[in-house]
């Protein structure tokens, strides 16, 4: 049983109308592993995360959690399976009409029979864990800075003590210090609980700091028909020293001929 990948994408292709985003992608993640998915904008990184949690159904192929295909789950089973995941959205996706405390408490109120006092204690603990003071509890998301929103989003994702954390571009749009704060929080989360983490990011500092393994997706439009979409799958160190031109260009942020390719 332990030989089974904890989370697996098996020969998945994803189309939106006539637009192909993922082509025959296979990927597995071991329990407790921290995987970073990198690649150009529009190559299907965020789509991959949404497939993993069952927010999207693959056009072809299947996604398996501990060997069981998400497609075979009933809506109720899928909803229960999703509670094993925590998801930090790119823009945090906090509920605008609720206060910070109500946002963090949302999942607890929805899925547990805890008393309100216990919920408030968990909310305070989670906010403290991500470095936010209790005075922030009554604020609405619109009153928060980008970094605070991300940290409230992380506190909300951690409230139900997930086994798997999915981070969708957790540091995008943040200053370098706040980027490092979020990276530290990802490391802290992993140190405090046995969690499997998948991080979609463009930031190579994040990859270098938190990831154990890196997968790079290539944009489908630039692939030859038989070429696999996963163009790299190894450690972060190997990514930085890779001689593959596509990986090298991405990791070191070198445009080379890309501007002309994009224009033409």
């Amino acid at each position: 049983m332990d030989d089974l990948p904890f989370l697996e994408i098996h020969r998945v292709s994803q189309w939106f109308d006539s637009h192909e985003v993922l082509r025959d992608v296979s990927l597995h993640v071991k329990r407790g592993e921290t995987l970073a998915i990198i690649g150009e904008s529009g190559c299907g990184k965020s789509v991959t995360l949404k497939l993993l949690i069952g927010l999207l159904s693959p056009t072809v192929g299947e996604v398996r959690l501990q060997g069981r295909s998400l497609e075979t789950l009933s809506p109720r089973e899928l909803a229960r399976a999703r509670l094993r995941f925590g998801f930090l959205f790119q823009g945090a996706a906090l509920f605008d009409s609720l206060t910070v405390a109500d946002n963090v408490a949302f999942g607890l109120r929805q899925n547990t029979r805890l008393l309100e006092g216990e919920i408030q204690n968990i909310v305070r603990d989670r906010l403290h864990e991500v470095g936010l003071p209790p005075s922030i509890c009554g604020k609405k998301p619109a009153e928060l800075s980008g970094g605070q929103r991300k940290r409230v989003g992380l506190a909300r994702a951690l409230a139900l003590t997930p086994e798997i954390m999915l981070y969708d571009e957790p540091t995008t749009g943040l200053d370098p210090i706040m980027t490092d704060v979020i990276n530290e929080l990802i490391l802290q989360t992993r140190a405090q609980r046995p969690v499997t983490s998948i991080i979609v990011t463009h930031e190579m500092t994040t990859v270098r700091k938190v990831a154990e393994r890196v997968v790079m997706l290539g944009p489908v439009a630039h692939l030859r028909p038989e070429e696999p979409q996963i163009v790299f799958d190894n450690t972060p160190e190997a990514a930085f020293s890779s001689e593959d031109q596509r990986v090298h260009q991405f990791v070191h942020g070198q445009a080379c001929e890309r501007l002309r390719e994009l224009a033409g």
Binding site: K50, A79, R80, F89, Q90, F95, D96, F106
Partner: protein
């Protein structure tokens, strides 16, 4: 020459076909969505605090708008009807016309229109913004179904509160009509109320309530549907809000005609002599 004349009608047929297909898709999708919302409503009601907050937004905050609108419509009705009635020496019957028109038609339609404009478009914009900022996805990840969590409280609030808003509109309209008729045109106070009482019955109140219930349901379902199907960007949210109002208003008028006809048939079936 012949090929040009052949392609023109073909282009029109293509366009009509495409438009019909698109309209059928939208209507089909709206019907499926309405089914989902109704199923979710009958299977489990939302939490009391969520329902009360939505009721406050839908009902309490709409009261001033319907009060002002109702008052002016009643006043306009009195002004417009007075000239016709005065020529036929029927001034005293203004109360009957104003009360009957407001209770049966204008009250429910106006309350519906105001709700569609103030609440329906706001609902569509709010839900649309939630959709494009991944808040729907966040709900699902946290174990809540967006339809159950967002659409059901809005449907219940609209259905429960629009009959009350209609009563407020009716009352303010009759008050406005009474003010103009008695204070401006010198219609006797007792004559105004006597004729109103003679014409208006419980059936008229029921007609208004039934119509407003359907209007409320239609507004909520259409607004939520537009919000749930909102396309990306500020333009998408703006379109969702506009479409919510325009479609709701058209549906309110169509429903008003259909329900009016059906209720008339029922009335004459129940009381054939009258």
């Amino acid at each position: 020459m012949s090929s040009t004349s052949a392609t023109a009608p073909q282009g029109i047929i293509d366009a009509v076909g495409r438009l019909s297909l698109r309209a059928m898709q939208v209507v089909g999708d709206l019907t499926m969505f309405a089914g989902q919302v109704l199923t979710a409503t009958v299977t489990r009601w939302p939490r009391r605090d969520v329902l009360l907050t939505t009721c406050h937004q839908v009902g309490v905050e709409t009261v001033p708008v319907v009060m002002v609108t109702g008052l002016f419509i009643g006043m306009v009705l009195a002004v417009q009807a007075y000239n016709q009635f005065h020529q036929n020496h029927l001034d005293s019957r203004l109360g009957a016309l104003i009360s009957s028109t407001l209770l049966n038609e204008l009250g429910p339609v106006l309350a519906g229109a105001m709700l569609a404009g103030r609440v329906g478009s706001a609902m569509a914009a709010e839900l649309g913004t939630m959709r494009i900022t991944e808040q729907f996805d966040a709900l699902e990840v946290l174990g809540a179904q967006p339809v159950r969590h967002l659409a059901v409280p809005r449907l219940l609030a609209c259905c429960l509160l629009i009959p009350l808003l209609t009563i407020v509109t009716d009352a303010m309209g009759i008050l406005g009509g009474w003010m103009i008729a008695t204070k401006m045109f010198g219609v006797l106070n007792h004559a105004f109320w006597q004729h109103a009482e003679r014409v208006v019955g419980y059936w008229d109140l029921l007609t208004g309530a039934v119509k407003s219930l359907f209007f409320g349901g239609a507004i909520a379902v259409i607004a939520c549907h537009r919000g749930f199907r909102c396309s990306a960007g500020a333009e998408g949210v703006g379109q969702a809000a506009t479409q919510a109002f325009v479609i709701s208003f058209a549906v309110i008028l169509a429903l008003d005609f259909c329900l009016g006809s059906i209720l008339n048939v029922i009335y004459f079936y129940l009381w054939p002599v009258s």
